[in-house]
């Protein structure tokens, strides 16, 4: 019996030739990532449990990005960044990207890719559920809590249950009205928020191969929204091209065997997938944008690790070019690099940033920002009965701030089209 890509990577990490889904194994970790919300408690647990002589297992493999609560006056939030800064200084960590400095990168999952920490075949754990984003690089990447992260920080290893794999194949080409966000919302609607619990989600097919690395990251990013342990796309020439000049690390490319065993397989034709939304209050509450037309919105939010990448803003610019928004629209580039690209990247000869400001959008500094609500002074945080269309990843009650707000998850095309109309709108109306 053959093995899936996830099984092969975990076997390598566990020092085994073969392993079976359901087994608990100890994995040797290649990279550990943390941020300002979970970093300080992780460090506290590590210090307490490993004692006065606590040592980091490999300083080069620990990466810290403050990114969650950065542009806030909240004293407790600021203190958390101070704690990270002090820790990085004491232990001389080269992979620390301080807030308020030139090195500040923005949202960790995008920064990991930009800074070359994502490499095929590797095992990455992070104290953030969206760590699965990095699986777009043909690696195993998964979120853990502070105790697990503290354990990895000292021991360099962690136990894990080998997951069964689910395969999702997308045949056909990507029509101009469709994005990776629509593909993953389709899957979520079909299998539900626990449809892949403790399983690996493997994505493949002609449409997936045609996607850029940034778009592939949208697919793997929301694997956690189905409860998956990881999302994964095998490394191909698109991946290798992206990695050129980004990393000096040697990497190993794994692919699933043709006779690998899957828990289940799903096949889609992109031709019959429509622009979708996830209605309040769950990412699996799927409907077509067309069916929701007429639902008035108070704001549109284009940002986060899911929907704040350069590709997302290229999509949004196509709709917003030469048009005005009818609802408050927030443009929140995930990374500081993306923020700069808004000024250098052009659509029809105009920088994306100009297209957005001309349309009346508010461009916000890079961070996780209002995707998860954040402290009360977070720009874009929902208030009262706001109705928000958002390119983010979750719309559980209160996720973006107000418990009485209603959040619709959608692609950047749909979020931009809805911003122009002031109501949920199928992007095909403007393309």
């Amino acid at each position: 019996m053959g093995m899936t890509i996830t099984e092969k990577i975990l076997a390598r990490s566990a020092g085994r030739k073969k392993l079976e889904p359901g087994e608990n194994v100890w994995l040797n970790v290649d990279t550990l990532m943390t941020h300002d919300v979970c970093g300080p408690p992780t460090i506290e647990i590590w210090e307490k449990e490993f004692g006065a002589g606590a040592e980091i297992w490999d300083k080069n493999k620990l990466v810290i990005f403050p990114d969650h609560y950065i542009f806030t006056k909240n004293a407790h939030a600021n203190r958390n960044v101070d704690l990270l800064r002090d820790f990085a200084r004491r232990y001389e960590l080269k992979n620390y990207y301080d807030a308020g400095s030139e090195r500040y990168k923005g949202v960790c999952h995008i920064a990991l890719a930009e800074e070359g920490f994502n490499v095929p075949g590797a095992v990455l754990f992070g104290t953030d559920s969206h760590t699965c984003t990095s699986g777009a690089f043909g690696m195993f990447a998964s979120g853990v809590g502070n105790t697990d992260a503290a354990f990895i920080m000292g021991a360099g290893k962690i136990w894990e249950k080998v997951p069964e794999s689910m395969k999702f194949t997308f045949n056909g080409t990507m029509p101009e009205y469709l994005t990776a966000k629509d593909l993953i919302l389709q899957i979520l609607g079909d299998i539900g928020t626990d449809g892949a619990s403790y399983r690996a989600m493997e994505f493949e097919g002609e449409a997936v191969s045609s996607l850029s690395m940034l778009e592939r990251m949208t697919l793997t990013n929301m694997a956690i929204e189905a409860g998956a342990i990881n999302g994964i796309i095998a490394c191909d020439e698109v991946t290798e091209k992206y990695l050129e000049g980004k990393t000096a690390q040697r990497y190993e490319i794994f692919k699933s065997d043709p006779d690998a065993k899957y828990h289940s397989q799903f096949t889609y034709d992109t031709g019959w997938i429509e622009p979708l939304v996830a209605k309040p209050h769950s990412p699996d509450n799927k409907d077509t944008a067309r069916n929701c037309e007429g639902t008035k919105i108070t704001s549109s939010y284009i940002g986060s690790c899911t929907g704040g990448k350069l590709t997302d803003f290229r999509f949004a610019a196509k709709i917003l070019y030469g048009r005005k928004t009818a609802a408050r629209t927030f443009i929140v580039p995930a990374s500081t690099q993306t923020a700069k690209q808004l000024y250098s990247e052009k659509y029809k000869g105009e920088p994306l940033a100009k297209i957005f400001t001309d349309a009346g959008c508010i461009i916000v500094e890079s961070s996780c920002a209002a995707c998860l609500g954040g402290p009360s002074d977070t720009i874009g945080r929902s208030v009262n009965g706001d109705v928000v269309i958002s390119t983010t990843n979750r719309n559980f009650p209160g996720r973006m701030g107000s418990k009485s707000a209603e959040v619709y998850l959608a692609s950047p095309l749909t979020a931009a089209a809805s911003a122009v109309a002031g109501a949920i709108t199928d992007p095909r109306n403007f393309l």
Binding site: W26, P41, N80, G145, G154, D194, G227, R394
Partner: protein
């Protein structure tokens, strides 16, 4: 590990995500400072919409206004409990509020791991929706020797799924104790 856990039940529905267990805006507090830690108890389950808080009637606060701990020691929930973010503050908040065990039809992976590895609360699976059979305030007795749950309100007894693969970690009180006992770390 306590083999018999008794207490009042607080009943919730399906898909209680970590933002409902502890809203993200409260994650700024220190988890080691004694006074700040209490905030996690105070705000535990504060993100649950009022009509879904304390089923079947709803509108029951888990922690009373001005309080720091809850009068409920056992959470009864439906499927996919703890979905969403990886925040370990979620099981920590429940523990700080006084919760000893969660009984759910099923769990999201990271919440389950965090509960077990951090030694916060014991996550027990039922495979059935006890949240439709038990009322908030019912007095519950969990027996981990024979994996049963007794509801003293109506004397009904239900089977619980054994902890299986994670029993040793739960019994050790968390991942660090477990790994030390086995010589995995010093």
């Amino acid at each position: 590990m306590e083999k018999i856990i008794k207490g009042k039940a607080f009943v919730l529905t399906d898909n209680i995500d970590t933002d409902q267990i502890i809203p993200a805006e409260h994650l700024v507090y220190s988890t080691s400072d004694e006074n700040e830690l209490k905030m996690y108890g105070k705000f535990a389950l504060s993100g649950v919409p009022k009509d879904k808080s304390g089923m079947p009637e709803g509108n029951i606060p888990f922690v009373l206004d001005g309080g720091l701990v809850s009068g409920y020691e056992i959470i009864i929930a439906g499927s996919n409990f703890g979905c969403g973010s990886s925040r370990e503050h979620a099981p920590l908040a429940l523990k700080t509020a006084g919760v000893k065990a969660v009984i759910a039809e099923s769990y999201a992976r990271i919440f389950y791991r965090n509960s077990v590895d951090g030694g916060f609360v014991i996550p027990i699976e039922t495979g059935e929706k006890l949240c439709n059979k038990i009322n908030t305030g019912d007095f519950i007795e969990i027996n981990l020797e024979n994996n049963t749950l007794k509801n003293h309100a109506d004397s009904a007894v239900y089977n619980l799924r054994p902890l299986c693969g994670v029993y040793d970690i739960v019994n050790a009180g968390g991942l660090f104790n477990y790994a030390r006992q086995r010589g995995i770390i010093k």
